[in-house]
Symmetry: C2
Subunit: 100 residues, 2 copies
DNA sequence: ATTTGACTTGTCAATAATTGTCCAAAGTTA
DNA sequence: TAACTTTGGACAATTATTGACAAGTCAAAT
């Protein structure tokens, strides 16, 4: 269960690439990439997809990490975190049905 | 499994109060309150607590609805919604341990 | 048919939150 | 030490959210 940042860093290091190289290829600032890898900034969905292409990995792997990071970050300091997540699941489910 | 808006409306109606009465008591615009009850705008945490006091209900009931609404809204259009929520649970759990 | 009262809708400015950039500092390696 | 990689922090830019106001709908009453 890793954060998106951890995953991105693993992929980069496994290929022996430098931040500056990846950053150049993805047309972003090196410092920003560094922050992404340390989960200090969150990329947007589009950027996540670009990472997936660049590292040649399944987009869902990255998107799942990205989305769950966002959710976890949002509830992290809440006492009701766990219950709220359960309730959210039900709401998502309910809403999906309504849409049909 | 109701939204915060639905809950707020139920409480107001059960007391036979008008939007403008509640809005006045809570020092907010009637239109804004209307939006809260229809889940068009999300109140902040403080406002939720104020609602709890005003309607004399358990704050957790409202906070849970509020938080789960926020989460559900965030993942609603994502294919990976369900998986992401599960993953977020684990992440919250992991992170809690790390803090200790 | 007009008025009244309750609620809703749309728009806009203000505010807040997040993101991206730049540069300096810190850490690494040779 | 020198060259290079990575990180931190401050600030600008962008994006999202909020609240206020005016105008609108609808139903019931007159």
């Amino acid at each position: 269960m890793n954060t998106l940042g951890q995953i991105l860093r693993e992929h980069r290091e496994s290929k022996g690439l430098l931040l500056r190289q990846v950053a150049a290829a993805m047309e972003m600032d090196t410092a920003l990439l560094s922050k992404f890898e340390r989960d200090e900034r969150k990329p947007n969905k589009e950027q996540v997809l670009t990472f997936a292409k660049y590292y040649n990995v399944n987009a869902d792997e990255l998107l799942l990490a990205w989305l769950s990071d966002k959710i976890a970050g949002e509830v992290q300091n809440e006492d009701l975190a766990k219950e709220a997540l359960k309730a959210a699941e039900k709401k998502v489910e309910l809403f999906k049905r309504k849409k049909k």
